[in-house]
Symmetry: C2
Subunit: 125 residues, 2 copies
DNA sequence: GCTTGACTTGGACAAAGTCCATTGTAGGAT
DNA sequence: ATCCTACAATGGACTTTGTCCAAGTCAAGC
């Protein structure tokens, strides 16, 4: 556990946190000015391997790093400002895929992204 | 309607077609050797604007272009080889998101990606 | 035949991420 | 206390995917 790793871990603390690698880097630099982009990428990659953090891709932009790896969840994204919230839909979407729609695949995981407009953006007409 | 556009449209004909822009370009070049990457991107962009084709992003790699724009559907992806199938789950995932999980958002759309292993890859142990 | 405007082209550029050779460092060995 | 060594960090080159733009091409209409 080096100073660099500690800082990256600290930056990711909180709820509904979905930062890009560059955002993590920018915040890490505030605490440890000489930390490099490569180290942030390396550390994030390790945390993902360890299951401490998950990667989220809600758009074609940069991947986002999510410390909420404990509870499986999905995402609700504002198409205007990009705000992301963790959501827990009821029901199991896996069960909604009939056998004759599985084409012989072994299906192991489902990823659901809800898209819409956040209250903030809806107010700013 | 130029020769270039006709060729791009032809390349995209079929079911379960989800080609990247560069794959479209490679196949278009076979029919029209001097077609440029920029034209393929331009044409695909127009077809998306016109609603004739949809963009699909199942991974962090290149966007894929999908001529199945008539019927809304979701995707089943093989994590090994990347094969993509169109699927039509039963039920409405939008209804599975309770009000108290919407954070005041106006939710307009849901995107579901099923992940697993295709029969081909499962056979190739 | 000329003008015009839309379409095409090739290349420069940008964002996100990976790779790698080099440098730095923390801790154990002497 | 000093030296060694393994591992981590660094900076920059490179790759992939995609956008942008200035210049070239071509067909239609005058
Ligand atoms: Mn999340
Ligand atoms: Mn499809
Ligand atoms: Zn918003
Ligand atoms: Zn497969």
């Amino acid at each position: 556990m080096t100073a660099q790793r500690r800082v990256v871990a600290e930056v990711l603390e909180g709820d509904h946190v979905h930062l890009t690698a560059d955002e993590v880097h920018a915040r890490a630099v505030e605490r440890l000015p000489e930390i490099s982009r490569a180290t942030v990428y390396n550390t994030l990659g390790e945390m993902v391997s360890l299951g401490e953090v998950i990667e989220v891709s809600t758009d074609r932009r940069a991947k986002r790093y999510d410390p909420n790896a404990h509870r499986p969840h999905h995402h609700l994204v504002c198409g205007r400002c990009g705000a992301i919230r963790d959501v827990h839909p009821s029901g199991n979407p896996l069960a909604d895929l009939p056998d004759d729609e599985r084409f012989g695949f072994t299906v192991s995981d489902v990823e659901v992204t809800y898209r819409g407009t956040c209250p903030n953006c809806a107010a700013t007409v």
